[in-house]
Assembly symmetry: C2
Amino acid sequence: MSDKFRRLQTLLGEIADFSAASSLLHWDQQTYMPPGGAEARAMQISTLQKTVHQRFTSDEIGRLLDDLEKELAGADYDSFEASLVRVTRREYTRLRKIPAELVARLAKATALGHMAWEKARETSDFAVFQPHLEEIVDLTVQKAEALGYQDRIYDALLDEFEPEMKTAQVEALFEEMKEGLIPLVRAIADRQGAVDDAFLRQEFDEDKQWEFGIEVITRLGFDFQRGRQDTAAHPFTTSFSTGDVRLTTRLFRNNLLPALFGSIHEAGHGMYEQGIDRSLERTPLCNGASLSVHESQSRMWENIVGRSRGFWAFWLPRLQEYFPQLEGVSLDAFYRAINRVEPSFIRVEADEVTYNLHIFLRFEVENLLVEGKVRVADLPELWNAKMEEYLGIRPGNDAEGVLQDVHWSGGMIGYFPTYSLGNLLAAQFYNRAVADHPDIPAQIEKGEFGTLLQWMREKIHKEGAKYTPTELVERVTGGPMRTEPFLTYIREKYAQIYGF
Amino acid sequence: MSDKFRRLQTLLGEIADFSAASSLLHWDQQTYMPPGGAEARAMQISTLQKTVHQRFTSDEIGRLLDDLEKELAGADYDSFEASLVRVTRREYTRLRKIPAELVARLAKATALGHMAWEKARETSDFAVFQPHLEEIVDLTVQKAEALGYQDRIYDALLDEFEPEMKTAQVEALFEEMKEGLIPLVRAIADRQGAVDDAFLRQEFDEDKQWEFGIEVITRLGFDFQRGRQDTAAHPFTTSFSTGDVRLTTRLFRNNLLPALFGSIHEAGHGMYEQGIDRSLERTPLCNGASLSVHESQSRMWENIVGRSRGFWAFWLPRLQEYFPQLEGVSLDAFYRAINRVEPSFIRVEADEVTYNLHIFLRFEVENLLVEGKVRVADLPELWNAKMEEYLGIRPGNDAEGVLQDVHWSGGMIGYFPTYSLGNLLAAQFYNRAVADHPDIPAQIEKGEFGTLLQWMREKIHKEGAKYTPTELVERVTGGPMRTEPFLTYIREKYAQIYGF
C-alpha cells in the first residue's frame, strides 16, 4: 500500500472516530442524558458534525483521491483499495458541492426545528413548527440545487440516502406496489372482524417483555458481546464500531407487540452492522450499502421471519411460559392476531400491508414540497386529504397527522421512500436465501436462524458499503430491485389469513 | 467584548465540545460499553484527545492570548475576560512545552500500560506491568524535564493536578499530618475491639441500597435533573456540562458502606460541578480549581458530614426502614461502626484516619521514582516495606500492594497527594462555613443541608477554575492550606470514639 493510501486511511480513520463520538453523543441523548444536558449536547453534536464535514471535504482528501485514482487505475473493482477510493470519492464529490455556509445554516435550522417540532407535536399545533419547516424546506431546496440533478430536484435529495436511485424509479416501483396493495387493503377492509387480537390487549409485565425480547434476538444472532439494548422514546439502532452496536426499544405495559417486534426490527439493523467485515472499520465502507438495504434487514427479520407462522411455532410456547395469560391462545390465533391489518394514523404502528401507503403519501408530499407545488402552510390539509384517499381515515389532529414523524425537523427529506424499498428488498433477499437453502423455513420452525443469518452475512453484511444498492442487488439477486416478490409474499400471506 | 476575545471563546468552546465528547466516550466505556467496543473506543478517545491537545496548543490561540493580554492589561483580575485569558495562558504555556511526539508516545504507552496493568492486577503479577511502567516513568520524566522546574522534578508533575503547589510544601504538610496521625493510629491499634461493626456484614438488598443512596444524595442537593448515577467497577464522577454531571457507584450485597459512602463522595464532586457558574460553560474556567479543591468537596460530604453522628441522627431511622435487620442498632453503635479504624491494604477501602498513610507512601514512592532513586523493578519490595512502616501490615501479594491503583498505568504521577490535601481543605472549608453559620451542625441533624451547600456554592463552586487553589483558599479561609483544622477534627472525633 502506498504512503498516500495510508495517509487517506489515517484521515478517514480520524473522521470515523469523530463520527462515532458524535453517534455516541446522540445515543446518550436518546437514552440516558438528564434533561439539563440538552443545550450543551446540541453544541457538542454540532461541533463534532461540523468537524466531520470540514475534514471530509478538505483539499488534502481531494488531492489524495486525485492521486490515488491514478495510482489505482486498473485495480480490481472489488478490492479494498479501489472500493475505498471509489466510495470516498462519491461522498467527497457530493459533500463538496454543499457550501459550508449552507451546512451551518441547515444545522442551525434543524436544531431549532427539532425543538419546535417536539413542542408542536406535543400540543398538536402545526403553527409552532410551520416557520421552521418553511426554512428547512427552503434550505433543503438550496442544498438540492447545489448538489445538482438531471431530471427531478428530489433526485439530489434521495441520493443521500439511496445512492444513485432516481425519483422516477421510485415512482414506477410505488405505482406497481399501489396496484397490488390498494385492492388488498380494500379486500381486507371488507373482512374486518375476521381477525381477533383482543388477547394482545392485556397487561404484560415490562421486565418479562424485556427478557423475552432479549432471548429472541439473542437466538436470532444478535451478539451481546458486541452490542447492547436500551430503552428510548423513539427506537433506533446506532453503532460505534462493528464490535459495539446499540439497539433501543420501548415497552408498553398493555401491548406486547411494540417492544417485541421493535426489538426484532432493530436487531435486524444491528446484525447488519455487526456483520460488516472488520477490515472495513474506521472507513466510509463500514456502513450499510444504503438505507433501503439496511431496512431490508430489519423488515425481513421483523416481518417475513418474525411475523411468520413458522417462527411462532417455535416461540409461542416459550412466550406462554413468560406470559401464562396467553396459555389458551392457539398458534393460528396468535399468528393471525399479530398480522391483523387495519388502517391507522401512525406510520410506525402500521401493519405490514398499510405501512407502505403511509410511505407513498410522504414521498408524494415531499416531492410537491421541494418542487414548490405546495406550500408548507397547506401541508396539514394535504396530509389529511391523502390519508383519506389512501387509507380511508382522517386524522383528528396534526399530532397524529403531519406532525408525527421526526424526519423533516432534522432536514431528512428524501429518506421516507427507503422504508418501502426496504420491504421490496427484504422479500427479494429472503426468497434468494430460501432458493439457496430450501430448508430455511423448516429451520425457522425449529428456532434455528443461523443459515439465514449466515447467508445475509456472506452476501450482504460483510460487504459494508463497497457496492451501490443497485450493484449489490444485482450481485445478490441477479437482477434489479422489483416489486413482484414482495407483492406475491404479501398477497399470499394475507389471502390465507383473511380467507379470500 | 472584542472580536479577538470572541474568537478565543469560539475556539475554546469547540475544544470544550471535543473534551466533553471524549469524557462521554470514557464514561460510556466504564458504564455501558459492551466488551467488543474496547478496541475501537481506545482509538476514538485517542483521536479526540489528540485533537483537544492540537487545538489548545495552536499558534492561533497563542497569538490571541498575546493580543488579549495587551488588550486586557489593567482589567479587573476577577472579571470573566481577565480570568479566561489568564487561565488559558497558564494551560497553554504548560501544554506547549510538551512536544507533540512525546504526547503521542505517552498516549500509546498509557493505552498499552492500562491493559497490561489490568492483566497484572488480575493475576497479581507485577512482571506483566513492569516494562510498561518503566516506559511510562521514563516518558513522564521526559515530560517533567520538558515542562521544567526550579526545585524538584516532581513539581513539574504536581502542577498539572494542583496548579502552583510545590513538592516541598506538600512534604511540609505531610510531615505535620504524620506527626498527628501516626500516634493516633497507634493509640487506636491499642484499643482494637473497642468498635464493633459486625452488623454491617449482613446481606443488604442491592436495589434498596441503590434507592437509599439516591434518596440521601438527592437530599444533600445533587440535582438529578442535571445529572444521574450509574454503576461502574471503579467509581468516578464526570461531567459534560454543568447541566449533565454523571456519578458512578458500586454495590456489594454483603457490605452497605461502599455504595453509600461512595455515592455521597461522588455526589460531593458532582455538586461542585453542578455549582459552577453557567457563564463559565465551554471554557477552561468550567472546571474545579484543582484536584485537592475537588477532593475537599467529596471528602467533606463523605466524611465530615456523612460520617458524623448528627448526620445519622437523621438518616439512621430512615435506613432502618429500608433495612429492618438494622432495627436494633443504636445511633451510637452505628456511628462507631462506620468510623471503625483498621489498617488495611487497599487505599480506596481505607478509613478516614489511615487513608492518609496510603497517600504518604505513594507520594514518597513517586518522588523516588521520578528522581531516579528507585528502580521500577524494586517497587513491590519498597511498597511492602513502607506498608509495614506506616501501617504495620504487609501485603500478601502485589494485587493488594503496588498494583492496586490505576493511576500510574494512565501516566498520572503527581496525582495522589491531592487526595490528602483534599482532606485538609475539607476541614478548613467546613470550619469556615460553620463559623459563618453556626447552626449548620444542628441543621444536619434535621436532614437539612441547604445552608452548607449554598455556602460552598457561593464561596467555591460558582468560581470554577478562575482562581488557583492558593488564591481560592486565601479568599475563602483568609490564609493558606494548613493541617491544624483537619488534625483537630480527626483527633477529637477518634478520641471520643475510641475513648482516650
